[in-house]
């Protein structure tokens, strides 16, 4: 007999509001319905009412965990549109912050994954060593989260040479702790038993669902914007993309743990090779045109598109966050596993609902626009514009 187990929207397991309907037969999960939209704040709309320089502060507040990734992708998009190349020092600074953020985000996931399998020791332990990272952010940028380092045409703050030894000290600590986590977590028989062969997403499914980031790399699909389409300082440093074939939760955990090591490596090289010079170029205006920006966020590729009409605001700003693709793959990953594993499998993609939330318009209890309607409206509008410009 089929029964429904609701998880959410305010569930002690999750910090974010989201709603899952697990459809179960006995102990086994046979289907999953995902209901999002509790967090929709309309960023794309608001950003069209702000000036170019104000938008980074807005997109930073899409998500608190990747609060460097969204502004990063946005400034890359605007720089693409305006054909600006930021000075080399700014590129290195942005790369360093991007990588430090990856470590902090992966630790956060690792802790929560421990919490989800009822292993609170892992949670407390990992988050204890995430704290020095936040101190490091405070040292460099003055805030523990929401760093505001990205700026169109450069970086907002410099990393002072006096701070290098301090940063190096933190990196040494992190490196030691990361080795400790990797050994401890991968050797623990209980954790292994809970994570191995659970929530398997095969390579074919990963490609079919277009998942990105560690979710894809844990399924043997090597996609990483930093390698495929290097930006800023990523092609000037030496590092490896971590790929595992198994596709289970353990593989995803391994990808994340080993990626932290690579990130430390990248930060070290950046600090060593950081060129001197200015940290920003002067940007007077953004010409008419459009641009795209891609950044490898901790959860996968984040994509921003901006269109400019030559004024001081974007006329269109489109955001696609990695969780939008990754969460959909939960439907196949969770099928056939027990309810006890469901929480872990749902969390394995490191979902971020703030980035993902979309909204529907309902009128008198019925959905106003379906996907087809929206497509039709869009086509009609294009036709109208074409006619207006006589093309």
């Amino acid at each position: 007999m089929r029964r429904v187990v609701p998880i959410g929207p305010y569930h002690p397991l999750q910090e974010e509001p989201e709603f899952f309907k697990l459809i179960v037969e006995g102990e086994k999960v046979v289907d999953l319905e995902i209901n999002i939209g509790y967090n929709h704040r309309g960023h794309e709309f608001i950003s069209q009412t702000l000036t170019w320089d104000q938008v980074p502060f807005l997109v930073e507040r899409i998500c608190g965990i990747c609060s460097d990734s969204h502004p990063y992708a946005y400034v890359l998009a605007v720089e693409d549109c305006a054909h600006i190349t930021p000075p080399p020092r700014a590129q290195y600074i942005r790369t360093i912050i991007g990588e430090l953020e990856r470590i902090h985000s992966h630790y956060l996931w690792l802790g929560l994954a421990g919490h989800f399998i009822g292993y609170n020791t892992v949670w407390m332990w990992v988050w204890r060593y995430r704290e020095p990272l936040l101190d490091l952010f405070e040292l460099i940028m003055g805030n523990r989260n929401h760093y505001a380092i990205n700026k169109i045409g450069g970086a907002r703050r410099d990393i002072l040479p006096e701070d290098y030894p301090e940063i190096e000290k933190y990196l040494n600590l992190l490196e030691k702790k990361n080795a400790m986590f990797t050994n401890a977590i991968l050797d623990d028989p209980v954790i292994r038993a809970r994570l191995e062969n659970v929530g398997v997403l095969t390579k074919e499914e990963a490609i079919a669902y277009a998942v990105t980031g560690p979710t894809a790399r844990g399924s043997g699909y090597a996609c990483d914007v930093r390698k495929d389409d290097p930006y800023d300082a990523y092609d000037k440093v030496d590092w490896n993309a971590i790929v595992f074939e198994e596709g289970d939760v353990l593989a995803k955990a391994k990808v994340r743990l080993l990626e932290c090591d690579e990130s430390i490596k990248i930060v070290r090289q950046c600090l060593k090779n950081m060129p001197d010079g200015p940290i920003e170029t002067r940007v007077d205006d953004i010409p008419t045109g459009e641009g795209i920006g891609r950044h490898e966020a901790p959860r996968g590729e984040v994509f921003h598109y901006v269109r400019s009409d030559g004024s001081n605001m974007p006329v269109r700003h489109k955001i696609r966050a990695p969780s939008y693709m990754n969460i959909a793959s939960n439907v196949v990953a969770v099928k056939g596993y027990s309810i006890a594993d469901a929480a872990l499998v749902l969390a394995a993609v490191d979902p971020c609902y703030c980035c993902t939330d979309r909204t529907f318009v309902y009128e008198k209890g019925k959905k106003k626009y379906s996907g087809q309607d929206l497509l039709r409206l869009s086509l009609e509008k294009t036709e109208k514009i074409k006619r207006r410009y006589g093309k």
Binding site: E16, G42, I65
Partner: protein, 138 residues
């Protein structure tokens, strides 16, 4: 001791965390509070899993159309008297989301909020201080 419940609340408030439409950061910082570095459990503050067990609600994020009815329902389910503690600039007013079509307005239109803790996100020290201030007022 006029109200035993209030007296009990002062000693060891159990809090339930409600994220309306936040950016996650305030929520992470709240979770951070219970990890070893800050460890607010030593003050008797415990994060509980159900609003029915809670003495105080920690609300984060702006209210939007979909989360407002749910937040109100959580508030109704919390035994009274309860404290409502707004964490982050989002709860103080509508932050940067003033112009959004989906955001319904500040908290004080819908809920009696006892303490506002500004900051985006507030530092953990500020959060602890906010909770302590709220308790002192009782």
């Amino acid at each position: 001791m006029a109200n035993p419940k209030l007296w009990g609340l002062k000693k060891s408030p159990w809090v339930f965390h409600v994220a309306a439409a936040s950016c996650n950061n305030c929520d992470i910082e709240i979770l951070d509070l219970i990890t070893p570095h800050w460890d607010i459990e030593r003050f008797g503050i415990v994060l509980v899993g159900s609003p029915r067990h809670a003495d105080a609600l920690l609300v984060t994020g702006v209210l939007n159309r979909k989360s407002l009815p749910r937040v109100l329902r959580v508030y109704e389910q919390t035994p009274k008297p309860c404290l409502v503690i707004g964490i982050g600039t989002c709860t103080c007013h509508t932050h940067m989301f003033e112009r959004s079509y989906n955001v319904v307005g500040p908290y004080n239109k819908y809920l009696p909020v006892d303490v506002y803790i500004p900051g985006c996100p507030p530092k953990p020290e500020a959060m602890i201080m906010g909770v302590v201030k709220a308790l002192k007022r009782l």
